[in-house]
Amino acid sequence: MIEDPYLGKYITCVSARSTDKEILQKAQDGGIATTLMVYALEQGIIDGTIVAGEGDRPWEPKPLVAMSREDILKARGTKYSISPQISWLKEATRSFGLDKVGVTGVCCQMQAVRKAQLYPINMRDVPDKVAFTVGLFCMENFPYKSLQTIVEDHAAQSLSSVKRMDIGKGKFWVYTNRGNVSSLPIKATHKYEQPGCHVCLDYVSNLADISTGSVGSPDGWSTVFIRTKKGNEIWSKAVAAGMFETKPIEDVKPGLDLVTKLAKEKIDKNRKTVEERKSFGVNKALRNPYA
């Protein structure tokens, strides 16, 4: 077990890519989260999983309790907006009738799942039904209005024609169906972030069973942290079943150093915000979420 102040505890870290062509077609990078959930569903490790499906408006994510491969595949690709996954956690065990729930989500959502398991207030009979969690790397998130502004105004593209969005090389990239590529400096998007993200001290989903994201691996590949015993078991079986091709993280560029660098950047910056909040307001600090 490796313990890192910025990357959390993990058993191993690899660079990996799904072998499923259908998943890779629309996946953001290596298709890790989708493939893992499809594998877990087909193996009976989970009965269903909460994923970020398609919402009513273009590129608006909406949580979906997926109970088939087809439904899970609807969630391929990153949607840079807020999807309240945990709002379906209890319902998944109720009217959906799931006994083994899978959850995908970003760092704060993994924290919420663990918190719900530890203190199941309003989560009766839920803790033991969370069977598998896959966390995503997350720097910050945008409310839908923000995403509209970034894409429609800054990048000057129509959201409904966007094929793919990506953050990399210091820029926010927008690719459209007609072949337009537009980008804007990441710096310009900062003011549209949701303020809650500025106190988040987690970059790589420290509390998930397995966490994954593009940072640290070459294009089309993902960095994967295997964190828990359960995660390790599922990962080993999935690799043995040929669901993934893997490379040691040490052999790929840019490697773990970049992950650590970005994690440090995010966490150090946000620690500062937590500190600053102590003196916000008049005679009354803003609430410290970690106190």
């Binding site: 319902e91 009217s95 009738g97 799931l98 009766r124």
Partner: protein, 456 residues
């Protein structure tokens, strides 16, 4: 010479209540008063001015044992007032929820009453918390039945306690095919256990019924053959679910109901002059203590055709299935006989349930202030909620819960029983006292009542 003995509080049932009993020299009750001493919550007053969606959620909070009955009765009272018909699949989900609640509640009641009963053929009373057999396996079976009931309730209703899925106009969401299958699997398992548990309980109850004496705190107390008999009528609206004023043939009549205050029903101030420190647990109230049931009772006294009536499993079986036994043991037996019915009802509803059917009415009227009522056959009896809704807001709200009906009836049924086993008579009603506690309407003519109540 008549003496007064008081058991306060009574134990092994939901809520706080007490027994003030006038007994003769042989210890036989001449007049018994059983009353609620749970503080008033005032749900009916809280409801006024709230939206019709809010009130069922608030009403459900009156108690955690049959919140499902309260939620359903309250929602249906609102629907009756506004004139809203719900889709069939929503009705089916509600019935499943209702039956699941009854299943778990009967099992819970088994735990509460078993310590009163002997293991057949022995002189040992049941201790469901003991490690030894057969107690351990009985307890395990009861717990599993409860778990099954609660899980089915959680799936159909969103939550086993205070269900979140029912709403005005139907349900928030239908269940998935997987959830339907899960409920069916659980009900199948429950059916086998419920049959076993029913057979077991019937044997235990019949054994007790054949005994002449029961041991209470080392004394042999005779069990009268007429234990718990009364001459009040019975009231039930349906063998399983209930009725409402929207029905084609409503089975409850608003015009036959009248509410009396405890002041007019219970005995006045008395001084306790009989005491038994050995009575479990902790003895009865000390000699010299004053008791005043008229003033202390927090329950109202509802009457049907001018008389208190019995509600509950025996009332349901007597009304709909020609069950002709009376008294405490008959009530126990009737309750056990409802065990398999719950599972059969769930399975039957699941057969007809369409998981892709709509569960919410297309149009939900906002109400014109007309009166609507809904009766839900809660595990322990008929739970009637009445409401007037205008423009989506509740103008008036009333809850007539099972144990409110049973308080005065049971008080009558105490007559003739040795006071030491009065609690057994009470427990046969499966009392759920806290919801039977009411805000008492101050009578404009009787100022004394109003003033005294305020002081208390």
């Amino acid at each position: 010479m008549t003496k007064v003995v008081e058991i306060s509080p009574t134990t092994r049932h939901e809520g706080h209540s007490k027994l003030t009993l006038k007994v003769n020299d042989e210890g036989i009750i001449e007049r018994g008063d059983w009353l609620s001493i749970t503080p008033v919550r005032g749900i009916e007053k809280l409801a006024i001015g709230k939206t019709m969606e809010q009130v069922p959620k608030i009403a459900s909070r009156v108690c955690g044992i049959c919140p499902i009955a309260h939620t359903l009765a309250s929602i249906e009272a609102m629907e009756a007032s506004i004139g809203c018909e719900v889709p069939t699949d929503a009705k089916l989900l509600r019935t499943i929820l209702h039956a699941a609640n009854r299943l778990h509640s009967i099992a819970l009641h088994n735990i509460l009453i078993l310590p009163d009963f002997y293991v057949p053929g022995t002189e040992t009373k049941f201790n469901v918390f003991a490690k030894e057999e057969p107690f351990r396996s009985i307890a395990a079976r009861i717990i599993r039945i409860r778990e099954i009931g609660q899980t089915i309730g959680a799936i159909a209703g969103g939550e086993a306690i205070h269900p979140s899925n029912p709403r005005i106009g139907g349900m928030y969401r239908n269940v998935s095919p997987l959830a339907k299958q899960k409920m069916a699997d659980l009900a199948k398992e429950g059916l086998v256990l419920a049959h076993e548990q029913m057979e077991f309980m019937l044997e235990v109850i019949r054994n007790m019924q054949s005994l002449e004496y029961i041991d209470v705190a080392g004394k042999q107390i005779p069990i009268p053959k007429t234990l718990g008999y009364h001459n009040q009528g019975v009231m039930a609206t349906s063998p399983m679910y209930g009725s409402s004023s929207l029905d084609e043939n409503p089975t409850w009549d608003f015009a036959r109901w009248k509410e009396t205050r405890p002041w007019d029903w219970y005995m006045g101030e008395v001084t306790i002059d009989l005491e038994d420190p050995s009575y479990p647990v902790g003895g009865t109230t000390k000699v010299g203590t004053k008791a005043n049931p008229q003033m202390e009772a927090c329950n109202a006294v509802p009457t049907y055709d001018g008389q208190p009536v019995e509600v509950g499993p025996r009332a349901r079986l007597a009304t709909f299935k020609n069950f002709d036994e009376k008294g405490t043991f008959a009530q126990h037996i009737a309750r056990q006989m409802e065990y398999p019915d719950c599972c059969y009802t769930i399975l039957k509803c699941l057969d007809s349930l369409n998981t892709s059917g709509k569960v919410l009415a297309d149009y939900i009227p906002q109400g014109d202030g007309s009166m609507g009522w809904a009766a839900n056959e809660a595990p322990r009896g008929t739970d009637v909620h009445l409401a007037r809704v205008k423009d989506g807001k509740v103008l008036w709200y009333e809850m007539l819960v099972p144990t409110t009906w049973n308080f005065p009836t049971c008080s009558r049924a105490l007559t003739g029983a040795p006071w030491q086993i009065a609690e057994m008579v009470v427990r046969a009603y499966d009392p759920c006292v806290s919801c039977a506690t009411h805000m008492i309407v101050v009578n404009e003519e009787d100022e004394v009542v109003a003033r005294k109540l305020m002081q208390w």
